[in-house]
Symmetry: C2
Subunit: 200 residues, 2 copies
């Protein structure tokens, strides 16, 4: 369970602050994906949380009741789908630090998964929310991967806020869609892919 | 639970018959996907079955135990992923009829989902297994959709075996990969996509 520490600065800001509206990062992204779906823009879903079912009972006809089960660690990221023919794959992370996001917040299996995605021609990234400053960023996978590899060689174990300002793309929080990450893909990612390979 | 009816013909066939090996269609596809992943060919996963969790207890530290939960109907198909930059999305169905597969075996929400996928530039299809003759087919979404629309207008409520022989692509069952559906995509689907749009 996340603990919401009091943050006096939040009361003075004029920008939309989702923490006042009972929203969560995941909920905001699901709302954004629903907007894309409703407008026929993209088909992107959150994968269900995997559950290891141990015991099922049948107290009533046609309705199986799971009576013993455990959460499993997902082997992939939370979100994937298709936009303009491109395969999209990402996860979302939140940090309440003003200065960086620790790499330990990003499980290694997600980095391995995103590496495979990018190698297979997909678009992989992270959405990172700095809650202390109420800012969202699209973090391209290559930036994440560079920092991950540095950390394996003894480099710093986090990605600094300055790196986000320099190498990531800010996503403006809006009413609907709330976190319009496809705008970043349209503006910065797809042109790069088209330039790299004239045709597939 | 599926009931395996005795089928005298199965004992006389020389082709690999997975029903003798304790395999399932879903298991064969998961094995195929694992092969693609291990060989860095494609990244395609089965989505977890969605579960509505009602009650969780904490009998031991760090291990949540789900004590009441129910299966939910998935809103999408079972499998998706990326191959050569293309978004891949499909489900798998089995029929023990020799003459057709009933459209009621394919839930409407999966047809709606695949329609959205294809409209967004992804590759959507079904893998259909005719267990009586031990044959696998790649059924392109447009063929499925034509039959679905016909059925809504009062047409037949199934897709005939003859349609599969004419408009679908047979997938030869193998040892590893077992159901090499990407070979169909390589040979028949991607060339068509490239011809339709020289560049995206």
């Amino acid at each position: 369970m996340a603990i919401n520490y009091p943050n006096p600065k939040k009361t003075t800001t004029k920008v939309i602050n989702r923490s006042n509206l009972g929203m969560t990062l995941e909920g905001d992204i699901e709302s954004t994906n629903q907007y894309y779906l409703d407008k026929n823009i993209a088909v992107i879903y959150k994968k269900p949380t995997p559950v290891q079912v141990v015991t099922v009972s049948y107290p009533a006809r046609n309705k199986a009741k799971i009576t013993e089960a455990y959460y499993k660690t997902p082997s992939t990221t939370d979100f994937n789908g298709v936009y303009k023919g491109y395969y999209i794959d990402f996860d979302a992370k939140e940090t309440n630090s003003k200065t960086s996001i620790p790499l330990k917040n990003i499980p290694e299996h997600q980095i391995i998964h995103l590496k495979r995605i990018v190698d297979a021609g997909g678009i992989g990234f992270m959405i990172v929310y700095f809650s202390a400053v109420n800012e969202y960023y699209y973090l391209p996978f290559d930036v994440l991967y560079d920092h991950y590899q540095d950390s394996l060689k003894g480099g710093r174990k986090s990605i600094s806020y300055e790196t986000f300002q320099r190498d990531a793309y800010p996503i403006k929080f809006g009413y609907n869609p709330r976190i319009d990450y496809l705008k970043i893909i349209d503006t910065f990612v797809i042109p790069g892919l088209l330039a790299a390979t004239f045709c597939k």
